[in-house]
Amino acid sequence: MAIRTKPDHQRYTFEGFGSAKYPNLMLRGAGDLNNWPLAVYESKHEGYAGMRKALQMEPGAVIEDVKTSGIRGRGGAGFPAGLKWSFMPKDTAERKFTRYLVINADEGEPGTFKDRAILEYNPHQLIEGCIIAAYAMQANTCYVYIRGEFLWLIEKLEAAIEEAKAKGYLGKDILGSGFDLEILVHRGAGAYICGEETALLNSLEGRRGEPRVKPPFPAAKGVFGAPTTINNVETIAAVAPILRMGGAEYAKLGTPKNTGTRVFCLSGHIKRPGLYELPLGVPLDFILNDLAGGSSTGKKIKAVIPGGASAPVFSEKEFSTPMDFDAVRNAGSMAGSGGVIVLDEDTCMVQACLRLIRFYAHESCGQCTPCREGCNWMEMILHRIEHGQGRTEDLDLLASMTPNIAGKTLCALGDAACGPMDSILQKFRHEFVHHIEHKTCMVSGHRLLAHVGAH
């Protein structure tokens, strides 16, 4: 088995973590490679208590409890999970449905590495969440679509599933409840777009991973044409503590419309990078400075991407923003996947922007014209600016392109490319102008070198 034995050097905790103020619901035992087995999960982390409770309830009551918890999807969109579940059609006398639960474990958003930690240290928490969610929606099959590169985690998850099966938590008639569930793990093939839920469904069906036209939404017509709910790993894993403690109790965490805790992933020029499980609504600067120790380079922090690479960047004046879905949105960005990327003042924002746009141009599925052609064109323009061949009109050209891409595509990838582009261009325009006018980098002072093919 390729289950990892070499410990990682990620940071999973901070002072005060695990207290009532900063409860540890998602990262129990994180960092300890021997934490994953079922026995540990049950003996040390109240494992499967939520499942036992849920199976005693009516499925509808489970959905209600999750609604009460107020939990919003941790994959990026922040949609209330309980509400999403309630969209699944119920059986009627005339029509019985086959329903599916699909777990999005295709964690590919740059700067995001929380699902990976849950899979590494608490796979049973995910499985427990799957059982609760599938029971609530009366789905008898659950697919976990997992990022292909997570090879060792796939084996670990499958080993955990086997343990759960052996214990009677999966399979036929779970704990005498009459409810059956099978969890199938499907490995992705390395496309960012397959993290988009309908592209994921296509990929799961063996088709080319490209987003579908919506409506129909997955709850009406999802995988194999059947009603489907797709949730992120962290969302589903959170369902286990929600059921265990009760939705009302969970809802007391965080802020009224942004309840619970979420796992923030800190990376970049930060002294203590790692995973920070925090109640929603903690201000960004508190996380950066008080918890994570500020800049790692001693230089001033110039910009922060607050919610994964798709989120527009924050500059200094937005650093006080409370980190919840609504506040981050009101500040012009999005809480997204919880990936917080810190850039210090030595970072060339032109280069950063090119990196980001290159990613989207590469990962565009190619289906929608504006995204496929537009991202590609933007990359080309940024490339020439970065390499000293920018033209004065390029900045207007870039600015004119984003409205033709954002909101003009089937999925959010076009928006995801344009958000950072627009925000960087707006907040750091002087750096681009400097590149174009002086043919040098404003930050490093280096002369910009033209590359072959940069036209």
Binding site: C368, T369, P370, W377
Partner: protein, 884 residues
Amino acid sequence: MARLLINDLPFHATEGMSLLDAARAAGLDVPSLCHDRRLDAASACRLCEVEVKGQERPLCACATPATEGMEVRTHTPELEAYRRGVLEMLARNYPADAPAQIPEAPFHRLLARYGVEPTGHRDPAKADGTHPYMQVDLSQCIDCYRCVHICAEVQGQFVWKVLERGGRTRVEATGGSLLQSECVSCGACADTCPTGAIVDRSRLELGPAAAWTRTVCPYCGTGCEMQVGVAGDRIVAVKPALDSPVNHGHLCVKGRYGTGFVDAEDRVLHPMVRRDGEWVRVSWDEALDAAVDLLRRVKATHGPEAIGVLGSSRATNEEGFLAQKLARLALGTGNVDCCARVCHAPSAAGLGLALGTGAATNSFADIEKAGSLLVFGANPTENHPIVGTRIKQRALRGVPLVVVDPRRTELARMATVHLALKPGTNMPLLLALAHVIVHEGLEDKAFIEARTVDFEAFAQSLDAWPPERAAEVCGVTADDIRAAARIYATAKPSYMCHGLGVTEHIQGTETVTGLAHLAMLTGNLGVEGGGVNPLRGQNNVQGTAQMGCEPKRMTGYQPMDKALAAHEARWGAKLPGPGLDVLQMVDAARDGHFKALVAIGYDVFLSNPDAAASEAALGNLEGLVVVDLFMNETARAFGTVFLPACSSFEKEGTFMNGDRRVQRVRAAVKPRGEARSDQDILCALGARLGFAEAFTYAGPSEVWDEIRGLWSAVAGISYARLEEGGLQWPCPSEAHPGTAVLHTDAFPVGPRAAFRPQAWNPSSEFPDARWPLQLNTGRSLFHFNAATMTDRTDNALLQPTDRLDVHPDDALAHGLADGDPVKVESRHGTFTMKTHITDQVRPGDLWCTFHSKGIFVNRATGQGRDPVTHTPEYKVTAVTISKV
């Protein structure tokens, strides 16, 4: 119905309309590149974005349903600027010279409309010129994926694929080049491509069409409607009619590209007579006189029964009608037939006997309504490709499919159950299917009680055929028989269609009766999505037989005793009684009682079985008048007068397709050379035979009106109504909408249809020690029957010759390698063709097409005939093979 405001004007949208449909119906040219009405909304090019009041962002019109109260703006300055921006993105790398080449391509028109100039270049590596009909240059690809979607969603072939992503996204044919791919050359991709990246070669070589004519395909009995594009009196393009209920905007390789025969170099363009063994060009008067002289002379010396007329199932209904009128009225002979004799006569007879109407009970549209599909002895993806793709699309979407075919055809590969039975064992299989249904209690008791009689005796006859016994005889498993029976009896409604694998046996009529029994047993009659549906072979074989080119039937396939008086009254003459069918005519000629034949568009010599027997018989004729486009094998060997006919692209009239639909045929080009329509030729012959008045018509519509007067089922179908689209008979009055499903309340035979006990009478052509292998013949996608038409098109490049399918075991036993010439010998004769080793056939079975006249497969087929209709047993011939 939804009321909305589009650009401030009220619009009433019908159910299911998208905003794009609505805007376009309102006359607004909302641009789109990825949309095609044949496909699901793709919402990918994003040009059709429109503003909807209350929506934060513009919406993609093609994917947004038009709903009550919407206020939509389609051409605001912002939207137009955005559209221009998107076109600029696409134009950046688009070949600058492309728009001038095909200015009418939708993308090029948009570039011109928005004033966007492409600035890219062609990449020679992206061009693919391998296909005879389609030119590919993916430098012109704008990644709209329409080719990918249409190949998957309409044809179901999955040739075009999208590879890579982001800026490297590209569309490519699987298999390298289009010719090497699994492409079936339907041309749907070229038809939908908005740029010319995939384009018909004819567009590049012959230029654009100046005018379009809507007509019906001249090939199979599906009856697809097409638009024929003409420039300078030449056919330069064929496109599917997008709104046709038959083909839903799709065509196959034959319909779309098989028009080259119209202007083939060897088309006979002037009348000829044979003098001293040589064909000599003569005037029409001379030729018609020669024909009439022959017919008069034979009639005077041998009597009218020594003369026969073969109507053409390629010709129109009106011409079929005139052919029988010529025979019965002008020549006084009952000897009139058509090629339905050698294909679906058992379907007409079997269904006529069992249910009362000798035609498909349901419509092609029922394929989409069926809960399960049973394809019995038919290979529709090759022989009725549009029906085939419709079945295939259903199977791809999970509808259970049962295929009964000795060969592993394309549909068999997709089937839920494939019963690969031994050729000639249809009856035992059918009886075993019925056995399972009855013994498992799956029959529709209510239907049997209310709509049938004599069930008990039939049920008893099934006792002889438990699935285990049939399994042994048929060479399939009893479990598969059970599985198939359960699907057919329970996943209802069950649509059944059958082909020549049912009829071209000595048990043809019996087997069709068995199919009818199966439908009666399960209540699959008189319901949408069910029925017994023969897939008629030729474009108008249903029609020509229905028009009375049948020795025992008159107009409307009415029995002679019922219809003779009406015909005599209408035509004011005493008419002959039943006559000989084509096989009996050939027999009579062999015996010296039959002396003159008029063969209209029917290559008897090449098509009939046992060519040696035909040869001896036809040689006895005093004369043979051929009406055709080409010097076919019958004319070449035995013809004495040749009257050059028009193709269906050169005349007006109607065809009747396999779901009883009468559709208008329209002239797209002028008659070639001195060619005349069959109607003109038959009327000229009738007039010269002394029936000038009876053979004078202002046009085909007058002939049709005479037909309406003699056959009440089409009384309501007028030419004026046909302008609006085809109509399915029965359609007894002008107010009647036509009939999609027969037998909903009762049967023409009465309120109840009768079961009768059935048994199996095996063929004498089963293999034995001397003749150990079994030859089966059929048709292929790229050719049509005797290939008179398709061999004169580039289809000949797609499939150059017939090949003998041999199972690897048999190939090994006979020391045959792929491509080896092999001699096939039967009791009746021999032919030689190339070996094609494939496990599509069963061990012990051989299969080949009969398209190549040079090979002449019918030299080896035998004399077996269905006792009711005399349809030859083409499907079972005991043979031996040897390496040449």
